[in-house]
Symmetry: C2
Subunit: 235 residues, 2 copies
């Protein structure tokens, strides 16, 4: 079944028009005709079934036939703040995989040792959108624009806050400290790790230091390991 992302749809609508790009894809590429069935997700938890009413190649009109809100709603909230990798493809890979496995919010943080200071948020968001379509997720993870570490670490967060780093010091395992069904925020540093100053600042701001096992992991693998652990512990 074909699935489309229609972020502007509301639960009360009986009809919906696909965007120009999606219309073109539906009619020109997939060659859909009147009466063909398809599915829609709105990124806010809505999952819809629909049929093509007018197969216009720029403004395809759909009739909604069924809907479900809070579709596969997650039982916890996970926010990962990650330093974008030098090779941005590695961050893209993380975003795709984390979306498949389960994540709610991602912030890119620019750290002292970050080699990359910026990222194309629009492009990264497209990767997330593509991943939610692939894995049929009705919720679209939120990707925030890049923030400096020092600015981000002072931001208020109502939930458990963790920092994964490779320096010495007391560290916890998520399985021992994570409160299931809650909200958690995990910081993942750049290639070369967080600086000791950054770690101190996080600890002073109520972050707990965690370990992700004994293996030396790349930035994007560490972030995915954290995502995996939180989802697994909430299963």
């Amino acid at each position: 079944m074909q699935l489309f992302y229609t972020p502007d749809i509301t639960p009360s609508q009986s009809h919906c028009q696909l965007s120009e790009e999606e219309s073109k894809h539906a009619i020109r590429v997939l060659r859909m005709v009147a009466g063909d069935a398809l599915q829609l997700i709105d990124g806010k938890g809505g999952f819809y079934e629909a049929v093509v009413q007018d197969p216009h190649p720029k403004r395809t009109l759909l009739q909604i036939t069924a809907q479900q809100q809070e579709y596969q709603k997650r039982n916890h909230y996970l926010h990962i703040a990650i330093a974008p990798t030098k090779n941005i493809e590695r961050t893209e890979w993380f975003l795709e995989k984390a979306t498949e496995i389960g994540i709610d919010e991602i912030t890119l943080i620019i750290c002292q040792r970050s080699e990359r200071k910026e990222a194309n948020i629009e492009r990264l968001n497209k990767i997330i959108t593509s991943a939610i379509k692939q894995s049929v997720k009705a919720y679209h993870p939120v990707l925030n624009k890049a923030l400096a570490f020092n600015q981000f670490v002072n931001t208020k967060f109502e939930g458990q806050k963790f920092i994964a780093h490779c320096e010495e010091g007391e560290k916890f395992n998520l399985r021992d400290v994570l409160q299931p069904r809650g909200k958690s925020l995990i910081l993942i540093g750049p290639e070369g790790d967080f600086s000791p100053t950054e770690i101190d600042r996080a600890l002073q701001n109520g972050y707990k230091a965690i370990t992700l096992g004994t293996s030396r992991l790349r930035t994007e693998t560490a972030a995915l390991e954290a995502c995996f652990e939180v989802n697994f512990l909430n299963r």
Copy 2:
């Protein structure tokens, strides 16, 4: 510290010669000189410290100064048999990430619904080698050549055998059935999943069906999720 992969070294050696390629890298690229320290892994659990004795650009001679066998030996054995993805880059990503997280053996299996029927094992092995160097692992995961599913599923394996599939039927969670510190083998199907015939054949051959959660995962994500779970449950 620079790390080199020297699969031919044996514990009794006091000296070791780098391959032509590694010599070139050490002397021409890294500009190492006599007396410079470096580290070696042999892929069989040996971790060595050494210094450059003769910085020859084709046959660099090293003196071994310290060694450790069974370096970070894993406490369990994990074999994943995965259908290579249509886009081979996705399989490459899996191999890199699984090596970082922890895996012992990988077999590529060609299934009824596999779109890809072959893969360049040499190239894939290079990716694994690069990943063990990156994550300082002294054991090199073994990558077997591609086998037909029907042939592979009849192969003897002394340990627990699992098949992860998306069809209906009784399925277990690894956390409930995996015996820690043991040997396990997990089958991961192609895009489009295993066929019902393949699933039946696996079940008849002593494989247990498992679920990797409620998310719809791509082939390489499912394989990585399995790898994460087994390592996490053995931590």
